[in-house]
Symmetry: C2
Subunit: 170 residues, 2 copies
């Protein structure tokens, strides 16, 4: 059975919606998704650091639409591992685990990996929004569209923008 590495932020967790909500709360400004295109998250959101290090940021993030049904489909067909960059933000670890348990209860603790970088995780297929993770991965690379990667073109990627598309190609 093939092993699929599934990213959290930007693939399961709608961190852009979370950032936009928090920026609005903090400054009153509503950032349009279009204004964020091509910018790294740390540059796109003026208070990025404040948000990601604030209690509850990861725990209360909304899910990407379709991801529950989509991930359950993958989980029945492949060996699924959730692989998330998390050790940079120590408080995110438990928040991410609790969040996974709440929204995707069919994913067991044995299927979770929280790391600093992903280039030492084995798999056949990677679904991620960050080119740096995909570029270091020797298997099949699926890029999930987010504003920061929308302009990236790489013939080694398969691009998807929804979980329905993931389920169509996998």
């Amino acid at each position: 059975m093939k092993q699929v590495l599934v990213d959290m932020d930007g693939v399961l967790a709608d961190v852009y919606a979370q950032f936009i909500r928090l920026e609005k709360e903090k400054t009153g400004t509503i950032l349009s998704p279009e204004s964020l295109i091509g910018k790294k998250e740390a540059h796109a959101f003026p208070h990025y650091e404040t948000h990601v290090t604030s209690s509850g940021f990861f725990r209360t993030a909304p899910i990407i639409p379709g991801s529950v049904k989509g991930l359950e489909y993958l989980n029945n067909k492949y060996d699924v591992l959730i692989v998330s960059s998390a050790t940079e933000f120590p408080d995110s670890l438990k928040e991410k685990l609790d969040w996974l348990n709440e929204h995707y209860p069919f994913i067991s603790w044995q299927q979770m990996i929280f790391c600093g970088k992903k280039d030492s995780i084995k798999g056949d297929i990677m679904i991620d929004d960050h080119p740096k993770n995909l570029d270091a991965f020797p298997g099949r690379r699926i890029i999930f569209t987010q504003p920061h990667n929308a302009q990236v073109e790489n013939p080694s990627y398969e691009r998807v923008s929804t979980w329905e598309e993931i389920c169509t190609i996998l």
Copy 2:
């Protein structure tokens, strides 16, 4: 540069000393290391579950003697990744990260992996006290002696009992 996967519990963290201390606090009984030989930790310690799920268990564990100097030596010579089974116990995640930062400040967050099982982590050399982790590893297998594995004989393992021995063979 070769990549070395270093386990935490039983290799860096002296969890046996921690279990023995907590059993004594709880019951007054001092368990001798000899009485623990050949038993899995969950069977060797009557209140295993209580201990590992209690706040501070991993955060306050003593270090294995020689591990600071030894790990620093490895870190200067190899690509070191700390790979720890942690997602079974959600509260252990941050405790383990804080513990690593306190005792081994030369290890960065990029070098930490907290997972459920270790069979998807790439490396050339694994140092672990659990045969189940070593058996799934295709590289060089170094078993760190702890009471539960003291009677295990496997010609594919190199056995060490101290960090000084690790530094001699690596």
